[in-house]
Amino acid sequence: MIQAVWVSFFSYNLITRTGEWQDIQNYLLAAQDPLFWRTIKNTFIFFVLKVPIQMALALLLALLVRQPFRGVGAIRTVILIPTITSMVVVSVIWGLMYHPNNGLINGIFETVGLPPQPFLINTKQAMPSLALMTIWKDVGFNMIFFLAGLMSIPDVYYEAGMIDGANRWQLFRHITLPLLRGTTIFVLVTSMITAFKVFTPVFLMTRGGPASSTRVIVLYIYENAFIYNKMGYAAAISVILALALLLASLFQLRYRAGS
């Protein structure tokens, strides 16, 4: 980390392994670089498309697999399998599923009479397609935390609520949700960090395209450092990213310490 801050003040050349002191030039460069702002915006769009839906689904699934019914163990396992599958495998398989001509999803669309979609090769659809895929992969991970949170709520609260004549929605609204606040904040912050450091699916499935519509911040760091050979600039963007995520984490720790 200290090294990152240090390098960010240099113009470091990877091949000659030399650098010149650049002061805060790299940071000024970032402030004036429209592509940098574009990557921040894209990363934020990805976060907005992914995290709220993912958290809502994770909570719903946690409520579902908490019920005792036959086969619930199998359903829980099935939801968790994407979380242990490697991101590269998920990206390539979904990349083929999204394939405009031979992909599984357009196959399903055509079968039920929907028009085929371009998905990853369309500026409007690429980011939502990536978000959908990562929701599928990460929803089980969030579900684990919600499940643990649900288990920690004592049954007597629900029993007391039922004696007072509360229906299921009221029990959920006035007992489950408030008591899951700590869990929800934790899941929100960890999911936010995961969303802001997304790289592999974007790198493999769209390379930031089409027309930079999916170029996210970590991809931009990678490209600057290892393709354009601008190590100092890449380090400066890294420092900005690290500070932003650090702030989010501290917010969460503070909240937890306060409650």
């Binding site: 980390m1 990152a4 240090w6 390098v7 470091y12 392994r17 199998a74 359903i75 396992t77 099935v78 939801i79 968790l80 399998i81 994407p82 242990i84 599958t85 490697s86 991101m87 590269v88 495998v89 998920v90 990206s91 390539v92 398989i93 979904w94 083929l96 599923m97 031979n102 992909g103 599984l104 357009n106 196959g107 055509e110 079968t111 599928w136 991970f141 684990i144 499940l147 643990a148 949170g149 869990t183 934790f186 899941v187 450091k197 790289f199 592999t200 790198f203 970590v218 760091i221 990678y222 450092a225 290892f226 190590m231 890449a234 380090a235 890294s238 990213l241 690290a242 995520l245 650090l246």
Partner: protein, 287 residues
């Protein structure tokens, strides 16, 4: 009375069907991509494309199952090499990191020395900064000490792991002091106490930590991508990505490679699911 009764029966039958239809769709959403991947891995190339539209059972079942994709991938494209690389790296990462991190966790929970709690906070602080934000300087460090493009360089940054330290420390803390006192009276050195008394007591946590570490090591992509150039040192993730990003996507090999890379982990998961869930959940319910 009679009609009311049968109305109830229809309604409960209706609810039953809706419930199982919903659950079936849910299961298909999560397993569909895997079924497609596994069946396509055993299909000849033309058959993969033939039954995509319209979708039918033929999309998900190989009509003429063949091992040719897997065999050619392993032998002609030398996919056995990345598999061995990934396995070796994962095993090395798991053993070394369990050994080192459990010692750190032990020291941070059972030994008394000045600055201990500050050290623990420092360790936890590393969890707040994701790897992606420090990969550039990390690469420069690894390059400067001459470990770029070596197996050692691939797993060295992953050995120390604050998550594992945290997880194991949680379990060390719960062991009663009497056990430690008894061992000291018996004349055990701190290392003996650690190795013979404490470690055997936290075996489930070690399985959790080891399995999670294995999954992350197997999953790693961006770091091996940065740090290795030699194709012989490629890990499974790199090799699969390369099949996918080639000029023409080698569909049958992408499926076969994904199948080989995924199924062993999934099978392992079926046995170790409990440990995985407990390990992950522990980090979430901390205060």
């Amino acid at each position: 009375m009679d009609s009311l009764h049968s109305g109830n029966r229809y309604r409960s039958l209706f609810r039953f069907i809706i419930k199982w239809l919903g659950l079936t769709i849910l299961i298909l959403i999560f397993t569909g991509p895997y079924i497609w991947m596994v069946s396509s891995a055993f299909k000849p190339r033309e058959e993969i494309f033939r039954y995509i539209s319209p979708i039918s059972w033929r999309t998900f079942v190989p009509l003429e199952p063949t091992f040719e994709n897997i065999q050619r991938l392993l032998v002609e494209l030398e996919f056995w090499r990345p598999i061995l690389n990934s396995l070796g790296i994962a095993i090395a990462t798991v053993t070394i990191s369990l050994f080192i991190n459990s010692m750190i966790a032990f020291a941070l929970s059972r030994l008394k020395f000045p600055g201990r709690d500050f050290l623990f906070i420092l360790v936890l602080a590393t969890l707040l900064i994701p790897f992606e934000a420090i990969m550039v300087p990390m690469f420069l460090v690894v390059q400067n000490i001459g470990l770029d493009d070596t197996y050692f360089g691939i797993f060295l940054p992953w050995v120390a792991d604050a998550f594992i330290i945290f997880l194991l420390r949680q379990h060390f803390v719960e062991i009663p002091d009497d056990l430690q006192d008894a061992a000291i009276i018996d004349g055990c050195t701190p290392f003996q106490i650690f190795w013979k008394v404490f470690l055997p007591n936290i075996r489930p946590a070690l399985v959790s930590a080891g399995f999670i570490k294995f999954i992350y090591s197997w999953d790693a992509y961006i770091w091996p991508l940065i740090v290795t150039r030699d194709p012989d040192k490629a890990v499974v993730a790199i090799a699969i990505a390369r099949l996918f990003t080639d000029q023409d996507i080698l569909w049958e090999f992408v499926f076969a490679g994904s199948f080989l890379a995924t199924i062993p982990i999934v099978l392992l998961f079926l046995f170790l699911q409990r440990y995985y869930v407990q390990g992950i959940a522990t980090t979430g319910i901390r205060g």
